[in-house]
Symmetry: C2
Subunit: 547 residues, 2 copies
Amino acid sequence: MQRTPLLMSRLIERGARLAPDAEIVTATVNGTRRQDLRETLLRAHRLAHALRDAGVGVGDRVGVFMWNGSRHLEVYCALAGMGAVLLNLNVRLHGRDIAYIVNHAEPRLIVSDADLLVRLEPLADRLPTVEKVVVAVEEGGERWSTSLPDAVDYEDFIAPWSGRFEWPKVDETAPLGLCYTSGTTGHPKGVQYEHRSQYLHTMAMCMTDAMSLSATDTVCGVVPMFHVMGWGLPWAALTLGCKQVMPHRFTRPERLVRLIAEEGVTLAAGVPTVWQDVRAVCVDRPGAFDLSRLERIVSGGSAVPAALARWYWEALGVEMIQEWGMTETSPLVTFSRRVARPDGGRRVAAAPEAYLAEVAKAGQALPGVEVEIFDPDFNRLPHDGRATGDVLVRGPWVCSEYYRSPRPEQFHDDWLITGDVGCIDRRECLVISDRSKDLVRSGGEWISSVDLENHILSLDGVAQACVVAQPHPRWEQRPVALIVLDEGASVNRERVLTHCARRFAKWQLPDDVLVVDSIPLTSTGKMDKKTVRADLGAAGYRLPELR
Amino acid sequence: MQRTPLLMSRLIERGARLAPDAEIVTATVNGTRRQDLRETLLRAHRLAHALRDAGVGVGDRVGVFMWNGSRHLEVYCALAGMGAVLLNLNVRLHGRDIAYIVNHAEPRLIVSDADLLVRLEPLADRLPTVEKVVVAVEEGGERWSTSLPDAVDYEDFIAPWSGRFEWPKVDETAPLGLCYTSGTTGHPKGVQYEHRSQYLHTMAMCMTDAMSLSATDTVCGVVPMFHVMGWGLPWAALTLGCKQVMPHRFTRPERLVRLIAEEGVTLAAGVPTVWQDVRAVCVDRPGAFDLSRLERIVSGGSAVPAALARWYWEALGVEMIQEWGMTETSPLVTFSRRVARPDGGRRVAAAPEAYLAEVAKAGQALPGVEVEIFDPDFNRLPHDGRATGDVLVRGPWVCSEYYRSPRPEQFHDDWLITGDVGCIDRRECLVISDRSKDLVRSGGEWISSVDLENHILSLDGVAQACVVAQPHPRWEQRPVALIVLDEGASVNRERVLTHCARRFAKWQLPDDVLVVDSIPLTSTGKMDKKTVRADLGAAGYRLPELR
């Protein structure tokens, strides 16, 4: 057989050849801007020429500090094609962390959206390796100026160049991307993706049993492209030739719903909090948006609350697909099992109970990756849906060390220790109980904060729920629930506890229920339990029993 | 990233873990025999132990001379798992060719179905490397005895063994299978598949835009598992955990339709002649079979006649998907483009014209493989749907040489010269005009026998059509059409020519139309034009003008 290296340059051009007219739609201040896939790839080739001229070679890292948009996609293509390394910078990180990452990864050049310069400028003298900043201005954006070194407008940067860039044949294990995960303690840790790993990840994403992604889909990644390369969605959509809809910074729920409706999005992807916000908009303004073309929502980053999946199915006929993974795993490892679809289509059965039972689970591992649960001595636990242990994964798109800082303690043999805790059922479906650090340890037993949150969310009037551990002298820890109510709703402590008592044992019930205005989120849109716990501590919070 | 080798042993066990109860249904004399995937894999492990005990090691070739059935699938799994090489022997080949292949590939052991021993026995003294024959007896089969050396019953062979076989970690480029293509001239040529090539092929087959294969499918490969490893379908179905329905030797159309109906097959795969026969049965006995669960037919091996695709859509609501490939390409390279499915499902649009236009084409290359058309000097031709040239392919599951006989003349740089001639349209859809050897060269122009056949088949009453070249002193060659009529139909020469004149230029029309009882088929079920031409020659056929 031919020795064809598994390079992303072999995939990214395919969609543009098959569907040159497929649109990349970018949200702008005043509406949307469109360019087709043919143009996107042509511009990527010009960008690659410009980058090479600026000294970027094979293996060099280029920082990217951008919202989702067509230019960001061009940067993906140019860097993957030319064999340079896409350093995804999370624009929502604290400046301290951004400076740390840039100093750790040492990019020579950063491509930044103009409206994000204000976040980089205060760091100017702490980014010694950065020689040049390429500034992308979106339609309707202001004129820019900056104190950053050797700044050039993106359009001026690529303007002198034309013609095809001959993508080099690098080794298939050459680096493709670099993404940092925000550690709960210490510095961010870098994960370096390779061509081969992302190529295999992309092929798996295009499987029917993943998300049924097809050239006929219109895809909207609400997940930022700086989060683990947008969960790989931009790569898969480029490979198939999908229309892509990119929200840029305009992710307020109402704007997002309008974009999804107007562009006929069929598949959208993002964290559950996004879909909770979108639901709230739809509930507030029934009939205001035509979401009839939306078929599937891929939700990941944290568990899908069953009540949320039910609402989308019952109100909109939209299938929710849960995925699970992390920065260290490229990121997709499992997809919720997609049960029999008796209409012969990609949609789920009309009777949703079997589907809802499955979408509540993280699901089955994609072909080629393995998920196992282990006890503290690294003995494998049975797949019986009950035995719960540490979740470990391995496979061709799972990292084997951290960038420039191997951290062997996060690996066991050739397995990655994920930090999640869960069980695996008899159909090989993974069910995540919790992040190990978010479990509540009470009297030698474990209480899952995720299970409590999901149950509380099924109560009418509760918009968000967050359960955290609080210290207790006898039990070590006890759970406390924070809830955000729907507009006009009145749900009190007793109501929540009565509701929880229907399903949970007495010792598993929260000791307290606090109604709050909002739950702090991390830079990746997950509930920031570390901050919740810190805020409670700073406010001198004590469990009712201890007051 | 982890260095996980792309071994088929990583895929074949997945389905049995996810769906241990999924059935493997094998047709028998009296009905069907069922065993589940769990049992199938357990038996494969036992078989691997027995094979190792019989001296089969990593890299050793094992001949397989079997119909489609669960034991054949066990052989697939055992050999792939243990790193031995599956030598697919086409049971329909001439004894001379079988002996040649066995002597060329040198297997030490052959696994044969009992009812096929009669084909091997006459060759007994011409198979010097074969030390042992393992004989599989299907339920309802007779007791067997044989003159072949050291023959043992399959069940007795695996009976002493139990427990898991620890699949070895071989190199990902280690050989997996060996299949011989029946050359039009000279000896059969061997193509050796590797773990990596088949792994990538399997991942691509599971894509939505290939055939939307899913764990929810019930798959019936009518294509024999000795043809290019059953087009890879057994591997993909094992990976996903599909129910598989195996016709064994019972492929008469009526039996096949009943099997498909009774087992609720959702996806079936085979050559167009099979689907023409199945159509005939359905037309003969309207309403006799419930094919309501059948969704998709994957057709390959030769072009899908548009009339056939139309009938399946209009009569049964079944989508036909054309694939194109060959022994040298593992085999799948392209799938017909699957156009917008406005019901949001895997089925095509109710208005079938756009779909019918696409299914008539061989389609778009799967991600990672490339298809190009070249002129005789190996200049690339434009993709405009008109320019026609030699079809060349390359990619990670395309062969780079023939087994033990490289034949560099069949390659150009790193491209395989396929021997097919075609064009590529603006959406990158390949359209095969013909095998280069089946084109009719007339007065310096080329006439496509496939185009004529497809058009003739759209005439009511014509069941099969075969166009071949006949020698002509002035024009070099002229086309002659052979047709087989539906029962009771009366279509004559003039009717065919009038019909053809609606679409083809005068010089492209057949010089003659012969009504025949049947068209000879090759061992892979394609029309055997070599034999048709030889038969015409032997009968002293002359073109009308030359009589």
